[in-house]
């Protein structure tokens, strides 16, 4: 395979990194006069086009001695991540205009996106780690880019916890390498499938460490401590990127490492990692939802709710581990719909905080009358996060929970009981927010209008939430083909 062919397989990543470089260079030559927004969007469009090209030509294969792989699984996430980055780019226009380092902001966003796409393609522990750290470093800076005390605190907290988790992850990787004698995921899969009983405990330890390191990225309990402060302190566009893109990429790599590396059910440790994720899921959901009830700041509320939602996805991971055939596609379907709904909520929150300069829930009172379109979409996306029909969130939860029951393990039924009761708890705070928007008297009568592109984004998110709630077939079949690529 020629060098060109190898780079072709990671083409979208190259485009994103290249775009970031070009953006910074232009800004260096002509400070503050570079068309940074246009350049960022152009880069994302090019990367999207490249991904589309891969999808249409059915590209598949490995490159760089098996370090990266191009398959439908990677394509699924490439589309998702680039779309999220584009949405955040547009939604952050006003934030970037006020900021004196807009170029750095967009460049870092592109770097982080590129690294995430690479992460979903990584097929080797080394490339996983490199992509993960590139993502993380870009995001540390992004979290601290606001330059106020809170943003700096957020950046520092994120950096410190990130460093610890990277160390833990690396330790797990080292153990895996020591056991399997290779860093390639297929090699590790072969080792696990061979069923070396004598090293079972070491293998479990290795995977617990890996799960802990990645748990930080997924924002599952008990590795969630950074989430509320970082989500609240970071500039809202950055928060939305962390909550949507970073989380999706984290689950992608977890699926790749655990599912491709360990196979579904039937290996010597599949019960152990199923139990591991079941506990993580139960704790994340219960803790996240309980804490979210108490929040009055919407960004903190979203932070805790995102911990709870990560718990929902972890239910899917536990099902995957237990050998549920529809488990993997359930996780992908959930991530797809969660992205649309969560993005819709965050874009609305960005638009509101740009206008009224507050993230307090009481300032959302009567938003429906101040900004009917934006408020309706925000409420719709909140309903989707709760899981109320006919939104896509309803089907997503149903898909994951059904996947867990279909795994055929009695104790997963109890996990689903915990999960559905948590849904009831989450309904309480999501609906309370929705109620504030719809029912309460507005504090001020002035109307709030979002910029036209932002309204377009919101409409797209709402359309996605409704469309996939009523006609889920296209997304389900995409998720299934992506999941099948892992087997």
């Amino acid at each position: 395979m020629s060098a060109w062919d190898q780079f072709h397989l990671i083409g979208p990543v190259v485009v994103l990194f290249g775009g970031a470089g070009a953006l910074l260079t232009w800004d260096l030559v002509q400070p503050r006069r570079a068309p940074v927004l246009a350049l960022a969007l152009l880069t994302l469009a090019a990367a999207f086009g490249y991904t589309l090209w891969h999808a249409l030509t059915g590209s598949a294969g490995t490159a760089f001695d098996g370090a990266v792989v191009m398959d439908r699984f990677a394509l699924f996430f490439a589309f998702l991540l680039i779309a999220v980055a584009a949405a955040v780019t547009v939604a952050a226009t006003e934030f970037a205009r006020r900021s004196d380092n807009a170029a750095e902001f967009y460049a870092l966003l592109l770097v982080a996106t590129g690294a995430m796409v690479l992460l979903t393609q990584a097929n080797d522990l080394v490339s996983v780690f490199i992509a993960l750290e590139t993502t993380a470093i870009a995001q540390f800076v992004l979290a601290g880019i606001g330059r106020d005390a809170r943003s700096s605190e957020a950046g520092l907290k994120y950096l410190l916890t990130g460093a610890v988790s990277a160390a833990v992850l690396l330790y797990g990787f080292a153990l895996l390498f020591g056991l399997a004698g290779t860093t390639a995921l297929p090699g590790i899969a072969a080792y696990v499938a061979a069923g070396h009983e004598e090293t079972r405990l070491a293998l479990i330890l290795a995977f617990v460490l890996v799960a802990a390191g990645l748990g930080f990225k997924m924002a599952t309990a008990p590795f969630h401590a950074w989430v509320p402060d970082v989500y609240q302190g970071a500039p809202t566009p950055v928060t939305s990127f962390l909550a949507v893109a970073s989380k999706a990429a984290a689950f992608a790599v977890v699926l790749r490492v655990f599912y491709a590396g360990l196979g579904g059910g039937g290996t010597i440790i599949s019960h152990d990692w199923s139990a591991l994720f079941a506990v993580v899921a139960g704790v994340s959901m219960t803790f996240g939802n309980t804490a979210a009830i108490l929040q009055t700041d919407v960004k903190r509320l979203l932070a805790y709710s995102s911990i709870a939602q990560a718990g929902n996805i972890a239910v899917g991971l536990a099902a995957v581990a237990a050998g549920s055939t529809i488990g993997p596609s359930g996780v992908l379907f959930f991530l797809g719909t969660y992205t649309a709904a969560n993005l819709g909520v965050f874009i609305a929150v960005i638009a509101v905080s740009e206008r009224i300069g507050s993230d307090e829930m009481r300032d959302y009172a009567g938003l429906l009358r101040r900004s009917p379109w934006l408020a309706s979409i925000l409420v719709l996306c909140l309903l989707s996060l709760t899981g109320i029909p006919p939104t896509a969130g309803f089907l997503a939860k149903l898909y994951i929970f059904n996947g867990a029951v279909q795994a055929g393990e009695p104790w997963l039924v109890w996990l689903v009981v915990v999960a559905v009761l948590n849904t009831a708890v989450s309904a309480f705070y999501y609906l309370r927010w929705a109620r504030t928007i719809v029912l309460d008297e507005p504090l001020e009568g002035t109307s709030i209008t979002a910029a036209l592109p932002v309204q377009g984004l919101l409409t797209l998110a709402a359309a996605g939430v409704l469309f996939f709630g009523l006609v889920p077939a296209p997304l389900i079949s995409a998720a299934q083909r992506a999941a099948e690529a892992l087997q």
Binding site: S324, T325, I326, S329, G330, L383, I388, P389, P390, F394, L395, L398, Y399, F401, N402, G403, V405, Q406, G408, E409, P410, V413, V416, V417, V420, L421, T423, A424, A427, F428, L431, R435, V438, L439, P472, A473, I476, S477, Q480, E484
Partner: protein, 489 residues
């Protein structure tokens, strides 16, 4: 045809959503047109329904969700049998009635009618679903309209009541969902007909747990003591039309779910627990009636009487025999019309007097002859006067239950005595006695919409009371297969 019944109100709601705010006066006419069409269609469905044909009729079916691997196939499947056809008719009738009694709603009418119509679609969907997941979807779909209707257009502690309603329902249905998923795995399908034909013999968790998980949602919805506390709050604070729908059709979702899903799919467990169910029923009947006796608010009084009356439904269910099950199904229909009418008249009286406190009301029959007479008719029907529909249903339940559960039946008969007590007492307080000067200015129900809705409801009550076969032929054909399954052991 059944899809059309769901689409009509939904289309009306969509049309209302895009109506300009300036045209709000038109909102009620749009709602009236679409709910009338839906009612006409429900009548057509009921009339065209042939009780001699076994199985579901007018079936609309396609695969909605399918995965390459097995395990997650959800159908869009609608159909009616003798059990659901009356429920669909009831939904059509009461939805139209609720639009009519809302004729004077001034606050955000566009949204109000849109949610009301959406509620009709959701409830209709519950009664026609032939797939467990689809059933659950419609079951949950009803939450949001109810929440908003109570919390925006209600009175009193409306937001508290609305949230209480939502949380009770959602916790109950959470268990139901897990039960459905386990059943789906055990039976290899979510299709109700498939599961009914071959009830699962074993599942991941003991079937008795599955039974109670599924029943949790239904018992909360019905509601039975001790899960009834959401009902009086929701009723008292809801606007009239919503009370009508809540008592008239939403509670029936619980009874319908038991008959359609819990009994035929888990017959063994249902039989095992029938004594417990009968005991719960008897407690609900008597305790509900005792609570009713203590109420001073007219609307709360009717709300508590619903708890008592829905206890008869559960008692009929607990017999697991054809007669008792027919009685339960009849009771659902008749309670829907009777209590619906009571809420309508109480709402209309409240519109005039602005109080529902029994001690303040007196001698209203002099001022409100029409309203008063209609309320008295409905009240007498509620206490089971022969010739009116309540009698038919209750006597059928008792006939069916006497052999199966003598103790519970005899206890429940006291509920009838108490019902006579609280209804006659309330009617006497409100309508007879010296006409208070304070109410001298009241005007009777004269508006066309008031008279139409009352006439229609009285007609339904009297027709079933005088000629029960109108309903019983259909109902018996619907419960016969269920009784055959559940009574076999």
């Amino acid at each position: 045809m059944l899809t059309l019944f769901l689409l009509l109100p939904a289309t009306g709601a969509a049309l209302l959503a895009i109506t300009r705010r300036a045209d709000e006066a038109r909102a009620k006419w749009i709602a009236l047109i679409f709910s009338s069409l839906a009612f006409a269609l429900s009548v057509l469905i009921f009339v065209r329904f042939d009780p001699d044909i076994a199985g579901y009729q007018f079936v609309d079916r396609f695969t909605w969700i399918n995965t390459h691997q097995s395990g997650f196939t959800v159908q869009y499947a609608l159909g009616v049998d003798g059990l659901s056809a009356p429920m669909v008719l009831l939904t059509g009738l009461l939805s139209l009635a609720s639009v009519l009694v809302s004729w004077r709603v001034e606050l955000r009418p566009r949204e109000y009618y849109a949610w009301l119509l959406l509620l009709e679609s959701a409830v209709g969907g519950v009664f026609m679903s032939l797939d467990l997941i689809q059933f659950f979807l419609f079951w949950e779909l009803e939450l949001l309209p109810m929440y908003l209707l109570i919390s925006i257009w209600g009175t009193g502690r409306k937001e508290y009541s609305a949230m209480k309603f939502v949380l009770f329902t959602i916790v109950g249905s959470a268990f139901m969902l897990v039960g459905f998923l386990v059943l789906g795995l055990a039976g290899g399908s979510f299709d109700i007909a498939v599961l009914t034909a071959q009830p699962p013999q074993q599942a991941l968790v003991p079937l008795s747990l599955v039974f109670w998980a599924v029943m949790a949602a239904f018992l909360v919805k019905l509601p039975v003591v001790p899960f009834h506390t959401w009902l009086p709050d929701a009723h008292t604070d809801a606007p009239t039309a919503v009370s009508v729908l809540l008592a008239g059709v939403l509670l029936k979702m619980g009874g319908y779910g038991i008959l359609r899903i819990a009994l035929p799919i888990l017959p063994g467990e249902a039989r095992d627990f029938r004594v417990l169910l009968a005991a719960i029923a008897a407690v609900s009947v008597v305790y509900g009636a005792i609570l009713t006796l203590q109420q001073r608010d007219l609307k709360r009084l009717i709300a508590y009487s619903s708890v008592s009356h829905m206890g008869y439904v559960l008692l009929g269910v607990a017999t697991m025999g054809a007669v008792g099950l027919s009685g339960a199904a009849l009771q659902m229909f008749t309670h829907g019309t009777i209590t619906g009418l009571l809420f309508i008249t109480v709402g209309l009286i409240y519109d005039r007097t602005h109080t529902r406190q029994l001690p303040e009301l007196s001698g209203l029959l002099h001022r409100l002859p029409v309203l008063g007479t209609v309320t008295i008719v409905a009240g007498l029907a509620a206490l089971g006067l022969p010739g009116l529909s309540g009698f038919v249903a209750e006597i059928t339940v008792f006939l069916g239950a006497l052999d199966a559960h003598p103790a519970a039946t005899i206890t429940s008969v006291f509920g009838v005595v108490l019902a006579a007590g609280y209804i006659l007492w309330a009617l006497q307080r409100v309508f007879t006695g010296p006409p208070a000067a304070r109410w001298a200015q009241l005007t009777d129900a004269t508006a066309w919409w008031e008279r139409t809705v009352m006439a229609g409801m009285v007609l339904a009550i009297v027709a079933v009371g005088v000629y029960p076969a109108l309903l019983t032929t259909a109902v018996e054909s619907g419960v016969a297969p269920i009784a055959a399954i559940v009574g076999a052991g």
